[in-house]
């Protein structure tokens, strides 16, 4: 028996901001969930199960927050699952929800991911002092910056490429009302003049710290037929993981990322991603990850990804737009960030992306990664239902 096709019929996000002091965590997730239900024109009673994701419990210090959030998400008397795969969790959460529909376990599933970074301490949560071990000698960017330098060495990319990505994503964010950063006076010169924090990473090439939530309603063929607005159809979805550190790990282009993308393309019948996929919303916490992931995901040969960025291919009006929403560089509620990527891909193929809507968005890839390139999750969504 073939899988049930999975459709995205509702999408809701909060306006991502530095601090939502007016709501509890329950109030925050509720806002995104309600918007997703309104988009789908469904009520709490129409939802069969809830799948929720967030970053590690230590971030906000609420142990197993899914227990306390059941009321807010209408999950009482229904199955509720929590997914946990570090920064990729928003993507993995959507895929677990999608698999419940694909396997015909449930007809309609509400999936949601969140982070309230203003009430959390991610740096503390990630670098707890451990007895006998040497303390970490650099901040968050200090973990990523050496990998960026390795990419630059390997590819020979000019050192301006990172600033081009940041300049593009921040301008895209101006068209997305949900984005956290709206830097109306952004210029390339300003990005390039911003302080070098962890050389080669500049301040303007790093992501902000945000409060936010994202929710989606996933449903089966029958649910899609009842939907008031065009659905996005899942054409392929996959997760892969590998250890954070091991002998032979390639931080510039991790094997798990390549394998994950290959699995998605196989499911969707994509032979050449550069030709068959119209746009990509990918997890870029530091600007240089755009060219790195373009190669990892098969949109460019190894060492060539930066040329797509440099020549304007990844701009909103380019041939392969990347991060139409403004990306993680413009809003980063960590636990929600992966799902925001998946939701943006779905918004585009539904034609519901508003001011940052692309003209051609028949197939769009959503991508998330996390845990020091340990976890990957991706889905490809399309305007038309899957063949077969």
């Amino acid at each position: 028996m073939s899988k049930e096709p999975v459709a995205v019929v509702g999408i809701g996000q909060t306006k991502h901001v530095a601090a939502r002091r007016d709501v509890s965590i329950a109030g925050l997730v509720r806002e995104a969930a309600r918007r997703a239900l309104e988009d789908a024109e469904l009520s709490w009673a129409d939802v069969d199960a809830v799948v929720i994701g967030k970053a590690p419990d230590f971030f906000e210090g609420v142990m197993m927050p899914e227990l306390y959030l059941a009321d807010a998400l209408g999950a009482v008397g229904k199955p509720m699952l929590r997914v946990h795969t570090a920064g990729s969790v928003g993507g993995s959460t959507a895929l677990v929800a999608a698999n419940l529909v694909a396997a015909r376990v449930h007809g309609t599933v509400l999936t949601l991911a969140f982070e309230k970074q203003s009430e959390s301490n991610a740096m503390w949560g990630l670098s707890l002092p451990v007895p006998f071990q040497q303390p970490l000698l650099a901040g968050a960017g200090g973990f990523f910056a050496p990998h960026v330098r390795a990419y630059m060495r390997r590819s020979g990319a000019p050192d301006t490429v990172g600033s081009l990505v940041a300049y593009k994503d921040r301008r895209n964010a101006l068209k997305n009302p949900c984005a956290h950063l709206h830097e109306h006076d952004i210029t390339l010169e300003k990005v390039q003049a911003s302080p070098m924090l962890w050389d080669p990473i500049r301040y303007s090439e790093t992501c902000p710290s945000s409060d936010g939530a994202c929710a989606m309603v996933l449903t089966d063929r029958a649910g899609a037929a009842r939907a008031p607005r065009p659905p996005a159809w899942m054409l392929g979805g996959a997760m892969r993981s590998e250890p954070t550190l091991f002998a032979g790990k390639d931080f510039v282009s991790p094997q798990a990322g390549k394998d994950c993308a290959a699995d998605v393309y196989r499911q969707a019948g994509v032979a050449d991603p550069r030709r068959d996929i119209d746009a990509v919303e990918m997890y870029v916490p530091f600007s240089w990850y755009e060219p790195m992931w373009l190669e990892n995901l098969g949109f460019a040969e190894a060492g060539e990804g930066w040329k797509l960025t440099e020549s304007g291919v990844t701009e909103l009006d380019g041939d392969l737009p990347v991060n139409m929403s403004g990306g993680v560089l413009s809003a980063n509620p960590i636990g929600a960030s992966g799902m925001i990527r998946f939701a943006e891909a779905a918004l585009q193929v539904r034609g519901q992306a508003g001011e940052h809507q692309l003209e051609r968005a028949r197939k769009v890839l959503g991508h998330a990664y996390g845990g020091g390139s340990q976890f990957f999750s991706m889905w490809l969504v399309g305007a038309a239902p899957p063949q077969s």
Binding site: R21, V23, S120, P135, P146, A150, W198, D199, A247, F251
Partner: protein, 318 residues
Amino acid sequence: MPEVLQAPLVVEFPFTRSLGPVQSAFLTGLREGVVLGVRTGDGRTLVPPVEYDPVTAEEISDLVEVAHTGTVTTWAWNHEPRRGQPLDTPFAWVLVRLDGADTALLHALDAPGPDAVRTGMRVRIRWAVERTGAITDIACFEPYDAEPGPPAGRQPGRHTGEFQNPLTGIVAPARLDYTYSPGRAQSAYIDALATQRTVGERCPSCRKVYVPPRGACPTCGVATSEQVEVGPRGTVTTFCIVNIKAKNLDIEVPYVYAHIALDGAGLALHARIGGIPYEEVRMGLRVEPVWTQGARYPDHYRPTGEPDADYDAYKELL
């Protein structure tokens, strides 16, 4: 075989919480000596209150004041109170249904012993002397032999939840207190560091040398035990220049944070580079450890003066 190390590990952090409208009213109420519940769609009063109806999932905000007296619905005796618990002498954990409420609140009951506690007994709130807007504003419950009734001088019933200077956020300290052990392999590694030697373990399957050793190879999934000394010299495989001062680090910026592949190691470790201007550090630079008296780890690595390593020699070790 050296002894397996262990040490106490305490992690603690004061988390902030935004309360939202319902919890704000509840905690501000406690500060003012008022206990508030919330009315659900099916007419029940929940104390403590919640923001969303557990049955209908609707937003709820009809607040109700309940009494300071109530009935114990169940209990457990706590023989040995621990740090941070409501009382420092033995007490009963109780669920108390306050008069006017349909659900019970978890708190402490001050009683001389377990024989003095029973399900169905009547209790009342003992308020804390200083109240700040926290569940600890109720110091505990105490036995109180009287029939259900309204709080002194006040009529129970609907409440606007409005107070002067409402509380909008709280600080919730979290603390974990446990014993940490790095295990057999890392203990041996740390033991060797005491004599300024770096000793890893070789995987019997892929032959890679893990430094620090973990006792198993993460790719082959097999145990490792063959000890191999690596270094002391190594190659800078990649690095960044840190220009912002981290809160918990006493290092002057800028400094170089580098990945260093010690000679013979299968993967790079992370360390600071010194003894060279930061702008002169480069990939391929050959370095050696610099030890300070009594330190467990090298303080930093410095150039050896050898010619730089060939990129091909370390490109798999970035």
